[in-house]
């Protein structure tokens, strides 16, 4: 995650988390409003966003880890 443009290593963890929440909120928007995804069974907006924020704020995680968190949270259109 630390190689992505939103991840500022000089900012406090608090500021980074604010940015991560905005990114996660936007991803949730794009998946559901723009791409027709639904939450998986027993998944809620809170759980989905928290799982994405957890990955987005961890500099050791990779994009594939974010993809897994997303796949666990959403059932995409046509899936």
């Amino acid at each position: 995650m630390s190689d992505l443009t939103y991840y500022n290593p000089l900012a406090s963890a608090e500021l980074r988390k604010l940015d991560a929440k905005m990114i996660a909120d936007q991803l949730d928007n794009v998946f559901r409003v723009g791409r027709g995804a639904k939450y998986e069974d027993k998944m809620t907006r809170t759980k989905a966003i928290n799982s994405m924020v957890k990955v987005l704020t961890d500099d050791t995680k990779m994009v594939k880890d974010l993809a897994k968190a997303v796949d666990d949270a959403y059932r995409f259109w046509g899936e």
Partner: protein, 397 residues
């Protein structure tokens, strides 16, 4: 000096590849003895060997590697007792201030744990968050610590999100977007005319709008220096402001003036084909007002003759953007700024230069780990303004 550093880091790398550098217990007498044997076989003098071993012990990368492994082990063990470590960022580093020859190993820590509930309303989204955070710098020799300020706090935050996607798409569009995605995945050249045409169609079917948020956070904090000879409580209210222009042609994107020099650099270096200001890099801002209750602060007491509480205004903001790509290296610019201003400070505090402090740090960083940074100013408990330059390389173990 550079060769010595390189030599030490090569040793660390070799040890890690040999699997013997993965936790504190494994940095054993046997490995040190083996290293000494290798160095002796290469005709190194006793003095050289001593210098090399001292260098390894003082190298912050050693401790960063050990810490990362500790975190990794906690994931693997799936022991819930250590789950909080995911929210704890620790980086070991060498501290040295501009006007002192003293260096010291130390670490910077930044812990941020919260419980958040995200709720969707008709035209916006909100979240309620309860959080605990702690951050600061600790040098093992406190005299070498240029940023001697620790803050621990609990807070509640109400956050309001709006914007992001222009319209609710229908089933026909969902299906078409999936088809475009399938075609793009099969393509090798994402910049071919056919791919660019598909990207255009994808973008036309998924219009993004500016996204905004604001947050209100009442909080209670404890501030100190690293030996707790100065402490104070700071209840207060923070306001968080954020905006992202997901469409680079939007007005918000054009107003992101901090990104203009970098947009020019991207154009000059060919990273972008046109002058493009990134709306997604609009700085995030925290503004707040604290009611500072001094607990232990001999300097302030001697200046004012009392430990009366006082109000304080504060700001923190961060900015990061992409500069260019050289071969496979992405180069980023990062910055962070903090400002504290005592409101209606007594004349004695103003005269001592303690009514207002600010701290600025910026860095160039590449994806492979090279960085060059500059920091200036001070935080509330620092004794003096300082400037710290650093140049280095972060390994990703």
């Amino acid at each position: 000096m550079i060769m010595k550093k390189l030599y030490l880091n090569l040793i660390i790398l070799i040890l890690s590849l040999a699997g013997g550098f993965l936790n504190a217990q494994q940095v054993s007498d046997k490995q040190i003895n083996d290293l000494v044997t290798v160095l002796k076989a290469n005709n190194k003098s006793e003095e050289d060997i001593k210098t090399i071993l001292n260098g390894i012990i003082k190298n912050p990368e050693l401790y960063n590697a050990l810490w990362q492994n500790f975190i990794k082990q906690s994931y693997i063990s799936e022991n819930n007792k250590f789950k909080f470590l995911n929210d704890l960022n620790i980086a070991f580093k060498t501290f040295q201030s501009k006007d002192s020859a003293t260096t010291s190993l130390g670490f910077t820590y930044d812990f941020n744990f919260d419980y958040a509930k995200f709720i969707e309303k008709e035209n916006h989204r909100v979240s309620h968050t309860f959080g605990l955070s702690a951050k600061g710098n600790v040098a093992f020799n406190k005299d070498a610590n240029p940023n001697n300020f620790l803050e621990t706090k609990v807070n509640y935050s109400y956050t309001h999100f709006s914007g992001g996607v222009i319209r609710q798409n229908d089933e026909e569009v969902f299906t078409r977007l999936n088809e475009i995605e399938d075609k793009l995945v099969a393509m090798k050249d994402m910049k071919s005319p056919e791919a660019l045409k598909l990207w255009d169609e994808f973008g036309n079917n998924l219009k993004l709008s500016d996204q905004f948020y604001y947050g209100l956070s009442p909080k209670f904090a404890f501030e100190s220096n690293q030996d707790f000879s100065k402490t104070q409580f700071t209840p207060g209210l923070m306001i968080d402001l954020g905006a992202k222009g997901w469409d680079n042609s939007s007005l918000l994107s054009k107003l992101n003036i901090l990104d203009y020099p970098f947009a020019l650099l991207r154009l000059i270096t060919g990273a972008d084909k046109t002058f493009t200001v990134y709306g997604s890099t609009v700085p995030t801002l925290q503004i707040g007002c604290d009611y500072v209750i001094p607990n232990k602060d001999l300097v302030r007491e001697s200046l004012t003759g009392n430990k009366d509480p006082f109000p304080r205004f504060r700001i923190e903001t961060g900015f990061r953007t992409f500069i260019s790509r050289i071969k496979k290296e992405n180069i980023f610019f990062n910055a962070n700024y903090r400002f504290y201003q005592e409101i209606d400070a007594p004349a004695s505090v103003k005269a001592a230069g303690l009514s207002s402090v600010n701290y600025f740090v910026m860095a160039l960083q590449t994806t492979s780990g090279f960085y060059a940074s500059y920091a200036a100013g001070r935080l509330p408990f620092d004794a003096k303004n300082d400037q710290v330059y650093s140049l280095g390389f972060n390994y990703k173990f």
